[in-house]
């Protein structure tokens, strides 16, 4: 059973008097525990697609099913609850909460979204802190750590709830090459350990090179699907 099924999705925006067709009849399926990348030039619809999959926006037409849920049917509160229980987010600018320490940032979704008991919370956080190599930095605040470290914390925060799907928008854009590879490797390792599906919207060839499935978008349509070790479908 596919984790994500998109069927003929359209997304239109009204910009002044002009209607912008950001997505036009997009359809695809993504399997669990896969490493997927949406690539394409700016304005091709990558981020729009990621926002729809992330339940942050709704399609203008078509059906999008994520983890057996038609996301168009969810109201505001249900969308938030769905994101909290099924999805993880990694942002280009890390988006850590500045008033919380590294430990507390990772703890946030367990505490404020999922109400996980303290003992289990501690166990999960410590395990992830060790996995992302931030155990010795756990009491620092975001402004006391480097960009790479911030992104590692953001990955840990995205994974701590054991989501089925992690969505990452340009996760390596603000990182140097060495740090970017370290982050990519970390995500692959997490995918292997936790069977989490990672979906990227990126220009970064380092990620594209590591992705197992690549969807190429142009002008709001998927123009190609490439699979590692497999054929390219136009």
């Amino acid at each position: 059973m596919s984790l994500i099924i998109a069927d003929n999705i359209h997304k239109d925006y009204q910009v002044g008097d002009v209607v912008v067709h950001a997505l036009q009849g997009v359809g695809f399926e993504i399997e669990p525990a896969s490493f997927v990348s949406f690539v394409g030039p700016s304005g091709s619809g990558k981020t729009t697609l990621l926002n729809l999959i992330g339940c942050l926006d709704k399609p203008s037409a078509g059906t999008l099913t994520v983890a057996d849920t038609d996301i168009a049917r969810l109201d505001r509160k249900e969308s938030a609850a769905f994101r909290g229980s099924h999805l993880g987010f990694i942002f280009q600018d890390f988006n850590l909460l500045p008033v919380l320490t590294v430990y507390e940032n990772i703890e946030y979704p367990l505490l404020m979204v999922q109400n996980v008991p303290p003992a289990e919370r501690k166990e999960r956080i410590e395990k992830l802190l060790a996995a992302v190599g931030m155990a010795d930095q756990q009491d620092k605040y975001p402004d006391q750590i480097s960009g790479g470290q911030k992104q590692r914390v953001a990955i840990a925060r995205a994974l701590v709830t054991h989501p089925e799907l992690v969505l990452a928008d340009e996760p390596t854009a603000n990182l140097d090459s060495q740090t970017a590879y370290a982050v990519i490797n970390l995500m692959k390792r997490m995918r292997d350990e936790l069977a989490t599906t990672f979906i990227f919207s990126t220009h970064d060839q380092k990620i594209v090179g590591e992705a197992e499935v690549i969807f190429r978008l142009e002008d709001g349509s998927i123009v190609a699907k490439e699979m590692k070790g497999g054929a390219s479908h136009e």
Partner: protein, 412 residues
């Protein structure tokens, strides 16, 4: 909930200067209201105490219709001895009454044998009068603090005007209810300081002497001043006495007595009400200060943290929790301002008492204002500040909770 408080407090500490400025503004408002409430409240309580405890009593009972003509001191509207007997029984049976004093009031001429002027006099049983209005003795600036038959206490303005001293012989001449005139000689035994309000410039003599001057075989009673055990229960006591005395009717079936609290008898009540109105408007100003400052700071907080709001919303934080986060921030600001304001306000009130503010009020000179701050005032003002702080946070917090995460994340 603890975590929401933790995040709120850290966000407040994140913008220390702004938090400090807002809390200071609230603090200044709270201090101003507390000191104003304390000073005016103490002034009011003091003046009410002076009026009720040195002249009026807490309430008074008259024959029906007497108060409407009280300036004329109408002898034909006195309470007759038989009716007074019934009234005495009712008053003795009332558990809330500490003491009561019957008075025979009349107007007359006062002469030192060379000059004559008019005077208002109260015929009283001295012991009962002093029990009912205990501050009366403190108004006796010269002479003994008792009153025997044949003696008279006169107001200081009269004594000065007619150059009358203690021990001097004077004559009181009065017209009785039938229109005939009678006079009696008295010895001045006390000089009374004037007090503000009705009765503040009256003289006192023994009730039996008053009856003799007015040629009454048995003293009739113009008014009965009543002192309650608990002044705060005045309205209930008035209602109770009115109920008790409603059964006492004349031949026409109309009530014989009327009960009036000091508020209905003294013009100072209007000043007291004005003080209450001013206090109310000062509180409104405090509410406006808190409302504007908290709303301003919370609107800024929401605007500055749009991306953070987008992040926590994307992560799955429910709108209600986002709303709570900002409301708690406003709540904490309100609590901070209220606590500091309470501490500083209480300290200022204490300092005022240590310094000792003295003032004159009408004929009363050099009154010492002893300010007090009731715990209930602190609680009420703190509660107002905190509730208003929460209300002021609601709109920005609601806005934050309704923010679309996708739009918030795009915000630069």
């Amino acid at each position: 909930m603890n975590n929401l408080f933790k995040i709120a407090v850290r966000n407040l500490l994140r913008y220390k200067r702004r938090t400090l400025l807002t809390a200071s503004l609230i603090t200044i408002g709270v201090v101003f209201v507390l000191v104003f409430t304390s000073v005016t409240g103490s002034f009011k309580a003091m003046m009410i105490g002076q009026i009720t405890d040195s002249m009026l009593g807490h309430l008074q009972i008259h024959r029906k219709g007497y108060v409407a003509s009280i300036d004329n001191l109408p002898l034909n509207l006195n309470i007759k001895p038989r009716a007074y007997q019934k009234l005495t029984e009712a008053l003795k049976a009332a558990p809330e009454i500490a003491a009561f004093s019957p008075r025979l009031k009349f107007g007359g001429m006062f002469s030192n044998f060379t000059e004559t002027t008019n005077i208002r006099l109260n015929g009283v049983y001295p012991e009962r009068e002093f029990q009912t209005v205990p501050l009366l003795t403190s108004r006796i600036s010269e002479g003994k603090k008792t009153l025997s038959r044949g003696e008279i206490m006169i107001p200081t303005l009269l004594a000065k005007g007619l150059k009358v001293k203690l021990g001097d012989a004077v004559v009181v001449v009065a017209t009785n209810v039938d229109g005939s005139v009678n006079g009696k000689q008295f010895v001045v035994s006390g000089i009374l300081e004037s007090a503000t309000g009705p009765g503040g410039r009256d003289g006192y003599l023994h009730i039996e002497d008053a009856a003799e001057v007015l040629r009454m075989p048995e003293a009739e009673i113009s008014e009965v001043a009543v002192r309650l055990k608990d002044f705060s229960r005045l309205p209930a006591a008035v209602r109770h006495l009115e109920g008790q005395l409603a059964g006492e009717v004349n031949k026409e079936g109309r009530p014989i007595f009327e009960v009036h609290s000091w508020e209905q008898l003294s013009p100072f009540f209007n000043i007291a009400r004005m003080i209450d109105v001013m206090t109310f408007f000062i509180k409104i100003m405090l509410i406006a200060i808190v409302l504007i400052s908290i709303m301003n700071v919370m609107i800024m907080a929401v605007y500055e943290r749009i991306r953070e709001i987008g992040t926590i919303a994307a992560i799955g934080t429910l709108p209600g929790k986002i709303l709570s986060m900002f409301v708690i921030e406003g709540f904490c600001l309100g609590v901070l301002g209220a606590i500091i304001g309470d501490i500083i306000g209480s300290a200022i009130v204490l300092i005022i008492n240590v310094i000792g503010i003295r003032f004159d009020f009408a004929q009363q000179k050099d009154l010492l204002l002893t300010t007090t701050l009731a715990p209930s005032d602190l609680l009420v003002i703190s509660a107002i500040v905190i509730v208003v702080a929460v209300l002021a946070s609601l709109q920005p917090a609601f806005k934050a909770s309704r923010m679309e995460p996708i739009a918030a994340l795009r915000h630069v």
